[in-house]
């Protein structure tokens, strides 16, 4: 012992959180409380945050055990809308599968799937207006898919090929699509939080009608940006919707390292005096309903809302990690809130608007569509196979106008290429 114990005081000890299950353990989620649908009914969209604290600790649900949509949160979507939602979620899943495989085939350097979390990007986007501004984290490709951004353009970005709108500058999946209300993704987590607030403040200051929505994960709520953003949003009553996709895992660190052993992520809202909702993230209708509530509130100057989607990351963090090395193998299968695609499908079947045959046919159709898109994208190249943007573009867009030192460095790089590949490179 470095220091002697003084005055017979008990020694302090440091608590380092540990997840309940590790590889080899049998996962048991019986301690997760899944309240009844409508355990807390839907409040008025202009309810005072102080009057709805319970919603930050509860779990908004719409789909009951019998697969029917019930209760005060039921958004009452018609069958066409529900089928469109299912279609987008399945397309996202098909896209993820294909691109994950493309990375394994060496066609690109990196990919991240959203398996198990599809509702949190698809159903949310469907509840927004198409010109509302989305500030995604890295696992919300469902926003682009929901807004009909071309799959080929997404793939071109993933391949950093000659068709990549971002000119091969960004890590795969870090899309940017201003025309689709999709902000440039950063690899530095939660930086988009204050940015979404700034965008919303700008919109409000211009008497615009558009709002912003921002996503982050459970782990990255620990970043200072998260707290700066919530402070600013509360101070200026900004029309912004904060979303925490609590998928339980931040690479290999469980949500306890972001504070989940003590409280919910939705409860962070309470300290800031803003509305907080905790939602079953695998219930697409509950996700839609929560977003709709928050969007209506924001759009009518009711201020910001923090929504936590309680969900589960069904796959690894990215293509760069093996979840089998840090968590129990069957966690996803045992997850008490099920799978968002299966639950929406079961609901559609329960209301007589869908069938297993239609479902299988749709999966095949979407798989073919993704394959055809991939074929088209690969005509413009895959990572590391030559078909990229011209070399000089490396130096463009650092500034609006290229300063002399970048021109000098660009010339140096071109000379290096001439040395390396000879005069025929010049002719290309």
């Amino acid at each position: 012992m470095v220091h002697g114990i003084k005055d017979n005081l008990a020694p302090l000890h440091l608590h380092v959180p540990e997840p309940k299950f590790r590889p080899g353990d049998k996962a048991d989620f019986s301690d997760i409380i899944v309240p009844e649908v409508d355990a807390i009914t839907r409040p008025d969209e202009h309810a005072s945050p102080a009057d709805i604290h319970a919603l930050a600790y509860g779990l908004v649900r719409v789909l009951g055990d019998d697969n029917q949509a019930v209760g005060s949160w039921n958004p009452g979507l018609d069958a066409d809308t529900l089928r469109a939602m299912l279609r987008k979620m399945l397309l996202l899943r098909a896209f993820d599968d294909r691109m994950f495989r493309a990375q394994r085939q060496g066609k690109t350097s990196f990919y991240m799937k959203s398996f198990g979390e599809e509702a949190t990007s698809v159903a949310t986007t469907m509840a927004l207006h198409s010109d509302d501004m989305c500030f995604p984290s890295y696992r919300q490709q469902g926003i682009l898919i929901t807004r009909d951004y071309p799959l080929v353009d997404m793939m071109n970005q993933i391949y950093s090929n000659s068709g990549d709108r971002l000119k091969g500058r960004q890590l795969p999946i870090m899309y940017s699509a201003k025309d689709y209300g999709f902000f440039s993704i950063s690899g530095n987590l939660t930086t988009q939080y204050p940015q979404a607030v700034g965008w919303a403040m700008a919109s409000a200051s211009r008497a615009d009608t558009r709002i912003s929505a921002v996503w982050c994960g459970d782990g990255s709520t620990a970043e200072g940006d998260f707290h700066s953003a919530l402070t600013f949003a509360a101070v200026y009553n900004a029309p912004v919707i904060f979303q925490v996709v609590n998928n339980q895992w931040a690479i290999s660190s469980f949500s306890g390292f972001a504070g989940s052993e003590r409280t919910t992520f939705a409860a962070r809202a309470i300290g800031y005096g803003i509305a907080g909702l905790r939602v079953d993230g695998n219930d697409a209708l509950a996700v839609f309903a929560a977003m709709q509530w928050a969007a209506n509130r924001a759009r009518t100057n009711g201020g910001p809302t923090l929504i936590e989607y309680f969900t589960y990351r069904g796959e690894g963090h990215s293509t760069s990690d093996d979840p089998g090395a840090y968590r129990a193998a069957e966690e996803y299968a045992l997850w008490p809130l099920g799978d968002p695609v299966t639950r929406l499908k079961d609901h559609l079947i329960a209301i007589g608007a869908w069938s297993d045959e239609q479902h299988e046919a749709l999966i095949l159709e979407l798989s073919d569509f993704v394959k055809a898109s991939q074929k088209e994208a690969e005509q413009k190249g895959i990572l590391g196979h030559g078909l990229h943007h011209p070399m000089e573009t490396m130096f463009e867009d650092v500034f609006e106008e290229m300063p002399w030192h970048l021109k000098e460095q660009c010339e140096q790089m071109l000379e290096e290429q001439r040395d390396k590949f000879g005069p025929e490179w010049e002719a290309r």
Binding site: S184, P194, S228
Partner: protein, 342 residues
């Protein structure tokens, strides 16, 4: 053509005038920061602007530099032209990720999809007994980041013209204001009376709009014996020392550190054959190191003596020993002796 109306202004008044002109000229310009609204800023740079232009154009913020700069990035993405103030350059570090990873890279990473026309103003430098948290000169942290322009004025006239150009620039600019010379140029002799700006040429400031292009240095004294590359407060200290010792120095006020006006620097050093770089910031990896490297790459065969660096020491800015830290007249005179010896 009539001369535009000019007025004698100190540097704070010139900065206030630049902000006023831009708020009136461009409805997208917004100003925010700690205490900048009703109160008008701890150095009074935004005095009267909220009253004149309204609370949605000029407003106070929470004490969160990460929030201020991050919100600025979002406002710029929306289409505004934010001009946040960071109360002291020493406080800018909580906002560094938003500046370095976000503002600076936005144009590049999105291939022009989103841009960040934001000007971050911040008082910097010492000489005011501000201790280590109100005296720093962190400019080289920003010149090292690709995608940010770094601007430092040395006179009221330059401050206004450069600030207007910075606000109009479509890329992020860090605009450091040498607070020791807000109210008057500084000779380096802290025990002598402060000379007011009204006695200096640079205080005749047009009341309306004008701009000084970024990336252009100013030769503030022509000379044949040695080139001095400097900026901010040190421009005036160097001028005083050169006058006192009768040195025929060519003094270049860089005004913009990045993009650097390399042509003016190269021509001068080739003419004089000697080069001294002077800044208040700490020495190691300071901007002087970059200047020395650029000069030796371009002018090595014209140099008659090693390049001299006159800087602050590699310690935190001390409170009681401020004047032993500051690169004042004694340190400069010794450096001139050394560089002129050969």
């Amino acid at each position: 053509m009539t001369e535009p109306a000019t007025k004698t202004m100190n540097m704070i008044e010139a900065i206030n005038s630049a902000l006023d002109v831009m708020l009136a000229k461009d409805p997208e310009v917004v100003i925010m920061g700690e205490d900048v609204g009703y109160f008008g800023g701890v150095f009074r740079a935004t005095a009267g602007l909220q009253k004149k232009h309204g609370k949605t154009r000029v407003f106070d913020t929470p004490i969160s530099e990460c929030g201020i700069i991050g919100v600025g990035v979002g406002m710029a993405a929306y289409g505004l032209r934010p001009v946040p103030e960071i109360q002291f350059a020493d406080y800018i570090y909580p906002g560094l990720d938003q500046l370095v990873s976000e503002a600076a890279r936005m144009r590049y990473r999105s291939a022009n999809d989103f841009i960040c026309p934001m000007t971050v103003r911040s008082p910097f430098g010492g000489g005011i007994f501000g201790g280590q948290t109100h005296s720093q000169s962190p400019e080289s942290l920003f010149t090292h980041v690709c995608g940010i322009k770094t601007v430092i004025p040395a006179t009221p006239y330059d401050a206004k013209g450069l600030l207007i150009a910075a606000i109009e620039d479509n890329d992020p600019v860090v605009f450091f204001e040498p607070k020791r010379i807000y109210n008057g140029p500084f000779s380096g002799y802290y025990d002598r009376p402060v000379e007011p700006w009204s006695k200096h040429d640079g205080s005749a400031v047009p009341e309306g709009y004008y701009r000084i292009d970024l990336g252009k240095a100013a030769v503030v004294r022509e000379g044949q014996a040695v080139t001095v590359l400097t900026y901010g407060t040190m421009v005036h200290v160097v001028k005083a020392v050169v006058a006192e010792h009768g040195i025929d120095a060519e003094i270049i006020d860089l005004r913009t550190l990045l993009p650097l006006d390399i042509e003016t620097i190269e021509a001068s050093v080739k003419k004089t054959g000697r080069c001294m770089v002077v800044h208040e910031a700490t020495r190691t990896s300071g901007f002087g190191a970059e200047l020395a490297a650029q000069v030796q790459e371009r002018c090595f065969y014209h140099l008659e003596a090693p390049i001299e660096r006159v800087t602050g020491f590699d310690t935190p800015y001390p409170h009681s020993l401020e004047w032993a830290y500051f690169p004042g007249p004694v340190r400069l005179a010794r450096a001139f002796d050394k560089i002129m010896k050969d």
